[in-house]
């Protein structure tokens, strides 16, 4: 297993995909955070410290992590590298497990980096502008880790989705359409709105990120149950993807 892990880690590091996705998402997030912290004048009198508020922008990195996870599996099918990969690691369960572990780990580091950079940048700007930004240590830990874990779990979810769908474009478009379009459309169904808001993919990630303004109102799940539910979604896709991969003929 450690050989497969080491191989997957090197695969992640040896194409530009990883650097491009992480770099562009961090650049985008920091740009938005920087502009909001520097230009917005409505921070005073807010119930949550402004830096904690701005951590919400980290959700953009969730989407990039999701795409990263999808690419980990679908690019193997797209370029036919699945054949040499399976010749080196014949157990398909082991191959997917290694991808899952590597992307969970890389996603967590990516998430922590996102959180730290947002906090450092926004705190620096707020202190220059003399805006009160006193953040309690426990809240910082809760929201920071919540955001980092939701990014890690989205990367893992991407691996599962990629294994189920295999087609690169289809998997990415399908996953983004689900999050941005289909979940919103489902909330139109009467009596379904609260369920989707609370238990949908976007909702559980929001709950896991732990921002109080929503969880207090009961619209979202509390952090731990939200995290467990998101992990369960990941497990469903990864297990389904592994079962399908074991049954499929690899002919390209």
């Amino acid at each position: 297993m450690s050989r497969a892990l080491s191989s997957e880690l090197l695969k992640l590091r040896t194409t530009r995909t990883f650097y491009a996705l992480v770099g562009s998402s961090l650049g985008l997030v920091l740009l938005i955070v920087g502009l909001a912290a520097a230009l917005d004048n409505n921070w005073e009198g807010n119930s949550t410290p402004p830096s904690i508020d701005l951590l919400g922008i980290a959700f953009l990195c969730q989407l990039f992590a999701l795409v990263l996870g999808i690419l980990a599996v679908t690019s193997e099918f797209r370029h036919g590298t699945i054949t040499p990969s399976l010749l080196a690691v014949p157990s398909r369960t082991r191959l997917i497990s290694a991808k899952l572990a590597v992307h969970l780990g890389a996603g967590l580091l990516f998430g922590l980096a996102t959180v730290v950079l947002i906090l450092v940048l926004s705190s620096a700007i707020f202190s220059l502008r003399d805006i009160d930004n006193s953040v309690g240590g426990s809240e910082l830990l809760k929201v920071g880790l919540g955001n980092a874990f939701s990014i890690a779990l989205y990367a893992a979810l991407g691996v599962g989705i990629g294994a189920v769908v295999r087609n690169q474009v289809g998997a990415i478009i399908g996953a983004l359409a689900w999050i941005f379009v289909i979940e919103s459309l489902l909330t139109i169904i009467p009596g379904f709105e609260d369920t989707i808001t609370k238990y949908g993919l976007g909702g559980v990630a929001g709950g896991l990120s732990g921002s109080d303004e929503f969880t207090d109102g009961g619209e979202l799940l509390a952090q731990v149950p939200a995290g467990l539910l998101l992990a369960a979604y990941v497990a469903i896709f990864v297990i389904a993807g592994t079962v399908l991969l074991k049954r499929r003929d690899i002919s390209a």
Binding site: R3, S7, D249
Partner: protein
């Protein structure tokens, strides 16, 4: 000891198409076996089933007595170059080999050794999207050799190679077999394996239609001797009386004696004082043999 490769009663059905139909053959260590058939005959399906990538509908395919997926050291047992992309276009050739080396527990030093061997040292840092077809084939070969395997499976390795590359590959495969390794190499062009293979397995529409050593195949399908001249009619009668198989060659009045060589026919001519203008061995091309066996015609499929 178990056969290097043993395929027994292998079948594979895709939907309503039987791609491989009750196919059996084996490959011994130290031998190069040419796996021949026209495009679509089921060669690639067979090789993929052998390597655990395709689940057979029936029968077994084993490497050193075990199914591929049960091998404890797959990279050290069998290496394969299969048809298709196989590389991420944005990853360098060297890094491609390194990712596979890590998965197989092979050192990076071995990667450098192989880059040298397949003459890709200079281009190792380049991304594979800039590689020529020949460079891709050589990179694929390097990947197959990572674990120093005793069995090699190559699907159409000569595709895209220039004549020098084909010659290099031929010498290379001969050297590997001389070291006691087993090599199974598929092709749809008989001439490609004719100078390399010890044995041939010819398949058509998923079924085995011929398995023999290459010299036997050539002997069975040797072309015979062609004779032209004013008196070939009398010669044909004499040869037939002697029990030879004689047929008229196409149109020009000459005859072909398929089971007598030039010396035997020459003696007959001399003994009977027959005048001839031409006596020449007929080289039936290997392609013709192949087409005859598979019942297909030359030209684009």
């Amino acid at each position: 000891m178990a056969q290097a490769i043993d395929v027994q009663g292998l079948s594979k059905r895709f939907g309503d198409k039987l791609a491989v139909d009750d196919l059996s053959f084996s490959v011994e260590f130290g031998r190069i076996v040419g796996f021949l058939g026209p495009n679509g005959a089921g060669k690639t399906t067979t090789l993929r089933a052998l390597l655990g990538l395709i689940a057979p509908t029936g029968g077994t395919a084993t490497i050193v007595g075990q199914p591929f997926t049960s091998l404890s050291d797959p990279a050290g047992t069998v290496g394969a170059v299969l048809d298709g992309g196989m590389f991420h276009p944005g990853r360098s050739g060297r890094n491609h080999l390194r990712t596979l080396a890590r998965a197989s527990g092979v050192s990076d030093a071995r990667v450098e050794e192989l880059l040298e061997l397949v003459q890709l040292k200079q281009d190792g840092r380049r991304r594979t999207k800039g590689y020529s077809l020949g460079m891709r084939q050589r990179l694929g070969l390097a990947a197959a050799l990572l674990g120093d395997p005793r069995v090699l499976v190559l699907d159409e390795p000569a595709n895209g190679l220039d004549p020098q590359g084909i010659r290099w590959l031929r010498d290379f495969l001969r050297a590997l077999a001389a070291e006691g390794r087993a090599v199974l190499v598929s092709s749809h062009v008989l001439a490609e394996v004719a100078q390399t293979a010890d044995d041939v397995v010819v398949i058509h529409r998923g079924r085995s239609i011929l398995q023999s050593s290459l010299p036997e195949l050539l002997a069975q399908h040797a072309g015979g001797t062609r004779v032209a001249g004013p008196d070939v009619g009398r010669l044909a009668e004499l040869l037939r009386a002697d029990g030879a198989a004689v047929r008229a060659a196409d149109g020009d009045g000459s005859i072909v004696v398929s089971d007598r060589d030039g010396v035997q026919v020459g003696r007959m001519i001399a003994a009977n004082a027959i005048v001839i203008s031409e006596l020449a061995p007929v080289a039936q091309s290997l392609e013709d043999v192949f087409f005859e066996l598979t019942g297909t015609q030359g030209g684009p499929a």
